[in-house]
């Protein structure tokens, strides 16, 4: 690549508009190009940094694509067995109730093998934040059908599309946990446009505040793409997500705290 003319003139502190947040490490992300995980990591790191929580935070990573989350976030972290992160986080939070504790899980982890742990941690009202990345597929193992794979959606174990008569229905875990008395704030967001990134960050900041106030479980689903698993380019995958995933999993708050204005209760337009 030819050198950009005057590059040294351009790279100056006063011209800086974007930089690595200090809660992210220098390690190269293991996520595929265009995947939403990197963006969510970045938002989470920004929130931890801006809220001054680095020394107070214990994260729990899942089994799945985000298994190596602890390589990218500069925080104390525990790696849980598949689906067990909410139980692990319960143990942490019960013993260190003043710390900020979150889990970060995919759909297979949280909504299939870990269904019991998810529902019971929410129902007990554990003071933790659960971040749920829903891309409707098992990304890490090569694109198999997930509990959230939508009807008709293709995967390596539903190669002709999900036939709900044979394979059963997708599970709307976020809708379920919103009905439980132990959850305080339940929302569904995405990170495929700058506006959605901002909304997700706002949701995370709220969840941090609620945890400080010991309000109960906060649950943020992030509908995301999986270009590799869906066998699409990043741009195609975002378009497919907008046209297919988001109508099935509408964005917006599913449960807001009583003192919160109800204005943002209705699902947002994509």
């Amino acid at each position: 690549m030819a050198e950009i003319t005057g590059i040294k003139e351009i790279i100056r502190p006063e011209n800086l508009v974007y930089k690595r947040t200090k809660v992210m490490t220098d390690n190269i992300l293991s996520y595929c190009p265009g995947c939403g995980h990197g963006t969510v990591h970045r938002i989470l790191a920004e929130i931890i940094d801006e809220e001054g929580l680095q020394s107070e935070t214990i994260g729990v990573s899942p089994v799945g694509c985000a298994v190596l989350m602890y390589n990218f976030l500069d925080i104390d972290c525990q790696e849980a067995a598949h689906g067990r992160a909410p139980a692990v986080a319960t143990g942490i939070k019960r013993l260190l109730p003043d710390k900020f504790v979150f889990t970060y899980q995919g759909d297979g982890d949280l909504a299939a093998i870990g269904t019991a742990e998810t529902i019971h941690a929410c129902n007990r009202g554990e003071n933790i934040l659960m971040i749920f990345i829903n891309n409707g597929i098992y990304g890490m193992t090569g694109g198999q059908m997930a509990p959230t794979t939508i009807p008709g959606m293709r995967s390596s174990t539903s190669p002709y599309g999900r036939d709900v008569k044979i394979m059963g229905n997708p599970l709307k875990m976020t809708d379920i946990v919103a009905t439980l008395p132990g959850t305080y704030y339940v929302t569904r967001q995405s990170v495929h446009t700058p506006a959605n990134v901002r909304r997700t960050k706002k949701a995370m900041r709220k969840a941090v505040q609620y945890q400080k106030l010991n309000r109960g479980a906060c649950f943020i689903e992030i509908v995301s793409n999986c270009p590799s698993g869906w066998k699409m380019t990043p741009v195609e995958s975002n378009k497919w997500m907008e046209e297919n995933m988001i109508p099935f999993y509408p964005l917006g708050d599913l449960k807001t705290p009583p003192e919160e204005p109800a204005s943002n209760l209705k699902p947002e337009a994509k």
Partner: protein, 356 residues
């Protein structure tokens, strides 16, 4: 300080000893014959006194993973269950062993396989001693033979777990868990304020982040880690073997038995001695590490050995390995929740080893 004397069930002794040992947390799930542990702790409410957390989980799987989370924060945490529940915990136990976390697990064994029976058995020996979950790892396994040891091994278990950063299992059975005996209780210990340097408690600017994981995608690094574990287990084998001998000095025949079976065998030795038979008993207190060296030594002295277990014959394999072919080693055991009698033991010793 004077120790307090009480009449208690083995299960209650575990619960009370946990509070007094300064445990930070207990996570349990009901299953017969060990539910008294959770019940006792819920009634005692130690969270109001010592600050010890007690929580009833939604499953044994969740309970052991809560233990993982708490242990990774450097806390003294434990769970208890019985055989079918311990099977469910195996995933969590292998992750705990792989992440080198200290914790205490109590198995009040009942007969199996499957749902089996709620009566006492010793049929989980292989599971406890040889692994249980997947991968190359060992638990430190303590085998109490009395209510007193149920209490004493809680504190000992925590100490060993933290010394070696390794999960410790108390392998008890339904008889020891349910029976009442007098027990001397240690005075209340304060909960430790020490934070191990590896614990995840939030990363201060003064240190690198702490990561608790059992994952290494690099085969070379994973093998180095496996070798580190082997070295740790070798050190445990060298330093932590515990056993008790009963009339072994002049013994011509040796019984090897742990837990409830060891109590039965102690009586069997007395009965045999009345008949003029020189029988001794070796009671392993640690099942891992196993008293291999001492049994090998006794193989040079006795004419034969009989492993007495409430199982189809599990520990007998380790006794055979220790005897290394020097003398005949046989197994005698009852199953299905039946506790053998001293008379049966003597009868089978004569039949199987003495051939009389």
């Amino acid at each position: 300080m004077e120790r307090e004397l009480r009449l208690m069930k083995g299960n209650e002794a575990v619960a009370e000893a946990a509070i007094r040992a300064g445990a930070d947390g207990y996570f349990g799930y009901p299953i017969t014959p060990q539910s008294e542990i959770l019940e006792y702790l819920m009634e005692a409410r130690p969270y109001q006194t010592t600050g010890m957390v007690v929580l009833q989980a939604e499953s044994e799987i969740a309970a052991i993973n809560m233990v993982y989370g708490g242990a990774a924060c450097g806390k003294r945490v434990m769970t208890t269950s019985s055989s079918p529940g311990i099977s469910l915990k195996q995933e969590g136990i292998t992750y705990i062993a792989g992440a080198e976390l200290p914790c205490l697990i109590v198995n009040v064994v009942r007969g199996g396989p499957g749902l089996g029976t709620i009566q006492p058995a010793q049929s989980d020996y292989f599971q406890a001693v040889k692994g249980g979950g997947h991968g190359d790892y060992h638990l430190i396994v303590l085998a109490p033979a009395s209510v007193q040891e149920m209490a004493d091994f809680v504190g000992l278990g925590f100490d060993l777990a933290f010394r070696y950063r390794n999960p410790v299992m108390i392998l008890s059975d339904g008889a020891i868990g349910q029976m009442m005996e007098k027990v001397y209780l240690s005075p209340q210990k304060e909960r430790s304020k020490k934070v191990p340097e590896w614990a995840t408690t939030g990363k201060p600017p003064t240190r690198e982040r702490n990561i608790i994981t059992s994952l290494d995608l690099d085969p070379k690094a994973q093998e180095v880690f496996n070798q580190k574990l082997i070295a740790k287990y070798d050190e445990i084998r060298e330093k932590e073997v515990r056993y008790e001998e009963f009339q072994c000095q002049d013994a011509e025949y040796l019984l090897v038995a742990y837990g409830t079976s060891a109590r039965v065998c102690q009586k069997a030795v007395q009965l045999a001695r009345v008949e003029g038979l020189r029988v001794g008993l070796l009671r392993p207190i640690t099942l891992f590490p196993f008293p291999t060296a001492r049994i090998r030594e006794l193989a040079g002295q006795v004419k034969g050995m009989m492993s007495v277990e409430m199982s189809a014959g599990q520990m007998v394999e380790d006794v055979m390995l220790a005897a290394n072919g020097k003398v005949p080693v046989v197994h005698f055991g009852r199953m299905g929740g039946i506790v053998t009698t001293p008379d049966e033991v003597v009868e089978n010793l004569k039949l199987k080893i003495m051939k009389v």
